[in-house]
Amino acid sequence: MSAGLSGPAAATIDDEILTTAGGLALANLQAQIEGQARRAGAGLLTISERAELIDLVALRGHILGCVADYEWAEERAEELVRVAPADGVAFLARARARATFHRFADALTDLERAQRLGADPAVVGAERAAIFQAVGRYDEALAFFREAADRRVDFASLGALAAFYAECGDVDAAERFFDESRARYRSVTPFPLAMLDFQRAHMWMAQGDLQRARTWLSAAHRRLPGYAPAQGHLAEVEAALGEPDSAIARLRPLTISSDDPDYAAQLARILHEAGRVAEAWMWRDQAAARYDELVTQHLEAFADHAAEFWLEAGGNADRARLLAVRNLEVRQTPRARELLARATRACDRGQATYPARGRDAV
């Protein structure tokens, strides 16, 4: 890795903030979830503790790329609202779960209810702002993030500003806030920091600066080796940099450990580009089946990723366009518009960027 071309050197990034070893932290997260789940089953948890358990499982879902964890969290959040209909914490938990599945309108309704029932306005506001950002209501999101950072300058408030500017493509502002946020990290859990570095990498991927993206993805991966999104995106970057063998080696374990079809889809695309067509089609079919399942169950959440899949490894521009339209209905962001434009162009050309099976599976 070249520090001059790709930002700070790995040693600098790792040494400046010490966190618990990633494998150890993940094992402890698992132990924490098991302990709390057992106590929840015994009826020993308060509503707040049950909401915390839901958050922990959702966190594990994010780290490991486990859709089943998100589904579990959503089911338990629904249950929490049923058993505690007068508790704002329950509605807050359900709002988070619904936002995870991109049910943004429902989530905003829950946040209103949570606030009326006395949930912490700062927490409700942060959740609302994150949804505003996700659906492209950038002015409202930014107003809240600025106010929160004025109120309390810390890792979370500065990290939210960094992620906001990253999504808007203002890399100078984003980099400044990423640095400031990191400098204010005061914990030993590696999860928030790995997630922040991942967001930073995501910004550089969107900017097309693959070296910088690799720097931060590697940082996230070193800090938390089990972090599936970092590993998966690192594979994507490596493939784009002409290192398909490394990319394939990274993706194979993820196709087993994760129930998110993104990894099988990436693997199919990279294998195909490497000329390993038959194997590519096997992973393509596996990804297609899982996307179909997830789009049926959680259309809003998977419309964008499924559209990307059908545009590339899936090889079906018409399906991609239908999903891109649906995605744009859910959130009017530049990225959603760009996805629809790409899908429309592919349809107009009469083919997807990835050739159909009939011509390639020979």
Binding site: L18, T20, A31, V188
Partner: protein, 383 residues
């Protein structure tokens, strides 16, 4: 809930969450001090210590000056006992994870050990165990919380402890005082347990002096007219127990004065009249949040706060003070706060953990391999 989940940061990372600290003379060996630090509430078998956290005890000699007026004189001399852990490794290739640690005293004594090894590690003047044990804490925390909501004592007999047969991660250090501390130091010591960032920059995550300070004495926001919307616990946790910073001292005092007055009023009489400035007589004593133990006195159970109570009366203490794992600290504290010992002992209806701690190293009961699947909380019993 002695200190379990004592603030948002602790909930987020149980590996730094100090649930309890126990400090007592070795029952069989006078002149030897036992220090116990518990972390990670409801620890399952996979739970391990962080490899970047310094789990440490800070020990300072204290004296009781004549006419102390409820305050100890704390020496600037400090002894530390620090435990650090390596990242776990897989035993025999694919076996379970094993974790090694080292315990180092400020005088240089160091004992290496393996986590969950009952024998622990030994060095001159030091013996150390670290691993999963049954959490010795017991308290009907639900009904104590209910008391702050209903503003009347909601305790019942028998009560229910949510920590019944739950497990935690424990560090047990036995220190030969004459060897590890300075000869002639003591016999009164103030002890604080801390979790802090291991490394050149000290970031304190949690500190622990006396049990129930953050939950019972500081936690409730309802009675504090000054800072009703402030969760004060993370700020309090980060303070140096021996030198509270000026920034939030007023906030801690206001919260303590308000909450201590609430507890005093629960029996409809005032045992702790406030002074002209509205300061509760216990506030300054409890703000000096460390555990005081006298190693010249023999081990005895239920000696918690005896030294402090004697100090308040201007009398000589009779016991070792400190806190042993079987001490009923809930009853002792509630009685002190509610009636100052002028009335019957206030009981939460829970008098011990399922398996009491023993009098032999490592003292705490082994972990329950199968913590209870269900504990009935009969809240309707509460009045």
């Amino acid at each position: 809930m002695s200190d379990h989940n004592s603030g948002p940061r602790a909930v987020a990372d149980p590996v730094v969450d100090i649930t309890d600290m126990y400090v007592f003379p070795n029952p069989g060996r006078p002149g030897s001090l036992v220090l116990v630090l518990d972390v990670f509430p409801n620890a399952e078998p996979a739970a391990l210590f962080s490899d970047v956290v310094d789990y440490r005890f800070r020990v300072r000699p204290v004296t009781i000056p004549a006419g102390a007026g409820g305050a100890f004189a704390v020496s600037e001399t400090e002894y530390t006992i620090s435990c650090r852990f390596a990242a776990p490794i897989q035993s025999q290739g694919s076996g379970p994870l094993v974790q090694d640690g080292i315990c180092t005293a400020s005088a240089g004594h160091a004992a290496a050990f393996r986590v969950n090894d009952e024998e622990g590690g030994k060095a001159e003047g030091l013996r150390v165990f670290a691993g999963r044990r049954m959490d010795p804490f017991f308290l009907d925390g639900v009904r104590i919380a209910q008391t702050t909501v209903t503003r009347k004592l909601a305790l019942v007999s028998p009560g229910d402890s949510r920590q019944h047969r739950q497990n935690c991660l424990s560090i047990v250090v036995e220190v030969d005082v004459a060897t590890v501390f300075d000869a002639g130091a003591g016999p009164l010591f103030a002890v604080v347990g801390e979790t802090a960032m291991a490394g050149p920059i000290i970031v304190r995550f949690e500190r622990f002096g006396r049990p129930l300070m953050k939950s019972v004495v500081l936690g409730s926001k309802n009675f504090d007219a000054v800072n009703r919307d402030l969760d004060i616990r993370d700020l309090y946790n980060q303070e140096d127990a021996f030198h509270l910073g000026p920034a939030y001292l007023g906030a801690y005092r206001a919260r303590m004065n308000a909450n201590l007055s609430f507890w005093d009023g629960l029996d409809q009489k005032t045992d702790w009249p406030l002074d002209a400035d509205g300061v509760h007589p216990l506030t300054e004593l409890l703000l000096a949040d460390f555990m005081v133990v006298d190693v010249s006195k023999p081990y005895v159970e239920d000696s918690y706060l005896e030294i402090e109570r004697a100090l308040l009366k201007g009398a000589s203490h009779e016991t070792c003070g400190g806190r042993s794992p079987n001490d009923d600290v809930g009853d002792t504290l509630l009685t002190l706060l509610v009636n100052a010992g002028n009335g019957p002992r206030i009981s939460d209806g829970v008098d011990g953990q399922a398996i009491p701690a023993s009098r032999a190293f490592p003292y705490l009961a082994p972990p329950d391999p199968n913590p209870p699947a269900k504990i009935e909380l009969q809240l309707d019993k509460a009045g």
